[in-house]
């Protein structure tokens, strides 16, 4: 898997912000924590195969992703989100009842925010949902969740302006923008589907909501 590292070192900015916010609070003793920098990356051609479809029962293992490593995960526990076809499940909530889904053992949550990727600067105040019996936190189906299906060209297109914000399994935050569902982002080859390319920004500091 090809990943492009674009690590933004904005820890200085965060430090500065924490000085400003702390200076108003007189009672509490300042505790200087050096925050880890935000991780801003692009994941290309993340394979999300499925079996069945086109009227047949859908199945197959979900491809898990771990924001901490920024890689595909095969662990039972160390994963945050997982992909199979156009379906995205999260490591939080309960079993949805779909075939071959992974066991959820974390406390992940998800919400879709409208905006450009840059305009989503915090996860504060968002209300996260979790996978539950009969429903995914990222809704499935054309125009319900992250994608639109075009029946003229038979293509899946990520709806522009849908930013997926996740709480990870252990209470960190990440924002994701899906760019393409096709191998090498070539949607003209509809047989090359089920390969995600997405940008994400991950805040590795537990409880920190800023992006």
């Amino acid at each position: 898997m090809k990943t492009i590292n674009k690590i933004l070192n904005i820890s200085f900015t965060i430090l500065l912000l924490s000085f400003i916010s702390c200076s108003n609070e007189e009672e509490e003793e300042q505790e200087m924590v050096v925050l880890e920098p935000l991780k801003s990356e692009q994941v290309a051609n993340f394979a999300a195969p499925q079996t069945g479809g086109m009227g047949q029962p859908i199945g197959g293992e979900f491809s898990k992703f771990d924001f901490v490593t920024g890689e595909k995960s095969t662990s039972e526990t160390d994963w945050d989100i997982a992909f199979r076809g156009t379906t995205i499940c999260i490591n939080g909530g309960t079993s949805t009842g779909t075939a071959d889904e992974p066991v959820r053992n974390g406390n992940a949550g998800a919400v879709i925010v409208a905006g450009t990727f840059d305009s989503v600067t915090t996860a504060q105040g968002l209300s996260f949902s979790q996978d539950a019996e009969g429903s995914f936190a990222i809704p499935t189906g054309s125009d319900n969740g992250w994608y639109n299906y075009n029946p003229q060209t038979f293509t899946i297109t990520p709806v522009p302006g849908k930013v997926l914000v996740f709480r990870t399994r252990d209470g960190r935050y990440a924002k994701v923008e899906i760019l393409s569902y096709y191998l090498d982002q070539d949607s003209s080859n509809t047989r090359g589907g089920r390969y995600y390319t997405f940008n994400y920004v991950f805040n590795p500091n537990q409880g920190e909501t800023s992006f």
Binding site: M54, F117, Q152, Q185
Partner: protein, 695 residues
């Protein structure tokens, strides 16, 4: 294609022979300005030049000059009219930016039925028996009710004129082995008149020979028979019987999942029109009319080798309409008219559980007043009561003012509506390969409950109350304001138009299925507008040389989408960087399949001595988009489904060989061989030869 290359040679030979020996005789064509009469604008015979509405009339001579075979070929050359393919590939008319669903098609004043997803297939209509085609733009529901939201096209068929038994026989041969045979026979014996018309059209079809180009047109053959008989029972009572039959058969071949399939489509329609015209007094007459029409289509696509059936569909529609109309002539050309009628419609088809029928009752009144000799005012309204949706009132007001000898101003405001289509109310369709479901509004709740009982539904995303009240008719208000100048040598018509359409019916998601797909149903939500101007100009350069030019400027947008863009709720992705950006209004291209500019330029020349008439016509359509490609639900400048603007060129020549024979040849559709994989109407240059014999 070798045939097309060969056909160019006689064309050039034809022109070179005659163009060098031309001698124009000045006094040959004495133009007697025959008054053109239009029936559609007011449902009474009216002089075209004094009609306060934007109206066009195409006469028999103009139709013949084009050398066309079907109605669509004629209409696409008219200013402001376009033929477009919808998302399912069905072709239909577009007028003032309003699509085929909202344009009523009439034959001798009575409606034609049988639409595919709202599109009326104009290539069903033979043209050999057409006397004139009348086009009225803008809402005309005040006279015609549903479907006349964007305008009306009325096909007026031939009337026998001479006492002598006479007729025509013509044979036209064109590219792809297209063969068109027309014959008619008619006689006017004073009290008793008849005419019969028969047409046969067939073609081997075509397939553009390339892997990437999907355009294909399958072989077909069809027959049209039209007969009209009328008799004066007394000098106060005339009876008319008109009947028309159309039968079409088309064969197809396709490969699906590496299996060969063969398909057969049968299509037929029938019209029976009975009319009694009673002249009660010199100034008052009553028409009693009974009309029945049916349209039937069946399609079967099955495997060549196995028992597999890919498609087995049928569509069977019927309409019955008795109507009584009265017309009272007042002083000084003014008149007062009205009518009352009942309409019964029935449809049974694949994906409907039951045979569905609609009933409606209606009446209309209209005053056509000459306030002064120079000023005409038309006030009218129609009331429609329908079994399936709220009743509709459609008023209209139009004025005409002759400012001086050559200039006139005209304007109109009218309401239009279209009743919800059968499929929007009763569809029950599940796509077997993808798994989504589409439900008609009236059956949505019941069918949804069935799906819930079958444990197929994940969640219902709307409130059930939203499916209880009935769906509204789609409705519009249209405004037209124009000026026309009629000088001896030239003529100009300019018309500004605006149509505001609300309650447009579209699909929306009502529930999510456990298979990840959606359940759709119909709802009134879109509000759109179309606005622009239309310009028509004609100039007589010499007695033998005419030029006409036409142009339409069009802006067609969805108001809801514009508001969403203003609110910053719509995004797009930049082409190269793939970065999401907020869309601005200047990036919103407008509704699909609408070209901002439509134009035509036509030259007509007649060599009087050699009895040869030649014409050259250019038709232009600017860039348009077929559908949204970037998932934001509208067409913007970042989408990739744009078709670039193009010009088609047509040429034809008619030579009178004798009083009884004439010979026509030409290249229709496309002289310069323009082709684009995305424009199915244009298979490349099509040549033809036609021979006509008349008695």
């Amino acid at each position: 294609m070798s045939f097309e290359k060969n056909i160019l040679l006689p064309v050039f030979y034809f022109f070179s022979t005659y163009s060098f020996c031309q001698k124009i005789s000045i006094d040959s064509l004495k133009t007697t300005n025959l008054k053109e009469i239009i029936l559609t604008a007011t449902r009474t015979p009216r002089e075209l030049s004094s009609i306060p509405l934007p109206a066009t009339l195409i006469n028999k001579k103009q139709i013949k000059d084009l050398g066309a075979v079907r109605l669509d070929e004629i209409l696409i050359e008219q200013t402001g009219i376009n033929i477009v393919s919808d998302e399912s590939g069905f072709e239909g008319l577009q007028m003032q930016g309003i699509s085929s669903d909202y344009i009523l098609i009439l034959i001798d004043g009575v409606p034609l039925i049988g639409r595919r997803a709202g599109n009326f297939d104009l290539s069903r209509m033979a043209i050999g028996n057409i006397k004139q085609i009348e086009i009225v733009k803008g809402p005309s529901s005040s006279l015609f009710g549903s479907e006349a939201l964007g305008g009306v096209i009325n096909i007026i068929t031939d009337e026998p004129k001479t006492k002598k038994l006479n007729g025509n026989l013509s044979y036209r041969f064109g590219s792809f082995n297209q063969q068109d045979i027309n014959t008619d026979i008619k006689q006017n014996l004073g009290k008793f008149k008849f005419n019969f018309f028969l047409n046969r059209l067939s073609s081997d079809g075509y397939q553009v020979e390339s892997e990437t180009d999907p355009r294909i047109f399958y072989p077909f053959r069809n027959y049209t028979l039209h007969g009209k008989i009328s008799n004066d029972f007394s000098n106060k009572l005339t009876g008319l019987l008109s009947f028309r039959f159309y039968d079409n058969e088309q064969l197809s071949e396709l490969v699906f999942n590496e299996e060969d399939f063969e398909g057969e489509t049968q299509e037929n329609d029938m019209n029976i029109h009975l009319k009694l015209d009673q002249r009660v007094s010199k100034n008052f007459d009553i028409d009693y009319e009974l009309y029945f029409t049916s349209y039937n289509a069946e399609e079967l696509i099955q495997s060549v080798l196995s028992e597999n059936i890919l498609n087995d569909n049928f569509f069977d529609q019927k309409l019955l309409r008795p109507e009584i109309r009265g017309n009272l002539k007042l002083k000084s050309k003014s008149n007062f008219s009205g009518g009352i009628g009942y309409q019964y419609e029935e449809l049974s088809r694949t994906f409907f559980d039951d045979n569905i029928n609609f009933a409606s009752q209606y009446f209309f009144i209209q005053g056509d007043f000459y306030l002064a000799d120079k000023m005409n005012l038309i006030v009218g309204s129609r009331f429609d009561n329908h079994s399936e949706y709220k009743s509709q009132l459609s008023p209209k007001l139009a004025f005409y003012y002759k400012a001086n000898k050559s200039m006139a101003i005209k304007g109109s405001v009218g309401f239009g509506f279209k009743s919800p289509a059968f499929r929007q109310l009763y569809f029950n369709f599940t796509n077997s390969s993808v798994g989504y479901t589409v439900l008609g509004y009236n059956v949505a709740l019941d069918k949804l409950d069935e799906l819930i009982d079958q444990n197929q539904i994940q969640d219902v995303v709307i409130s059930r109350n939203e499916l209880v009240s009935s769906l509204d008719a789609e409705s519009s208000i249209g405004y037209n304001l124009g000026i026309s100048i009629d000088e001896p040598k030239w003529k100009l018509d300019l018309n500004f138009f605006r149509n505001d359409i609300k309650n447009l019916i579209d699909t929306r998601i009502i529930a999510r299925k456990k298979n990840g797909q959606n359940v759709f149903s119909y709802v009134n939500f879109d509000e759109i507008f179309t606005t622009g101007l239309e310009l028509n100009f004609s100039q007589k350069i010499t007695e033998n040389f005419n030029i006409t030019a036409g142009y339409q400027l069009l802006y067609a947008f969805d108001k809801v989408k514009m508001q969403q863009i203003n609110n910053g709720e719509i995004y797009a992705r930049e082409t190269i960087s793939n970065k999401t950006i907020e869309l601005s209004n200047k990036d919103y291209f407008g509704l699909v399949n609408r070209s901002r500019h439509l134009g035509n330029l036509k030259f007509f020349y007649s060599f009087t001595k050699s009895k040869l008439k030649v014409n050259l016509r250019f038709i232009y359509r600017s860039k348009y988009a077929e559908f949204d490609t970037n998932g934001n639900g509208l067409v913007d400048s970042y989408d990739t489904s744009f078709i670039n603007g193009y010009i088609t060129t047509n040429i034809s020549a008619i030579k009178d060989l004798s009083k009884k024979f004439d010979f026509q040849l030409g290249i229709s559709n496309n002289l310069i061989d323009y082709t684009d994989a995305n424009t199915p109407k244009i298979p490349g240059a099509l040549g033809f030869l036609k021979l006509t014999y008349k008695t």
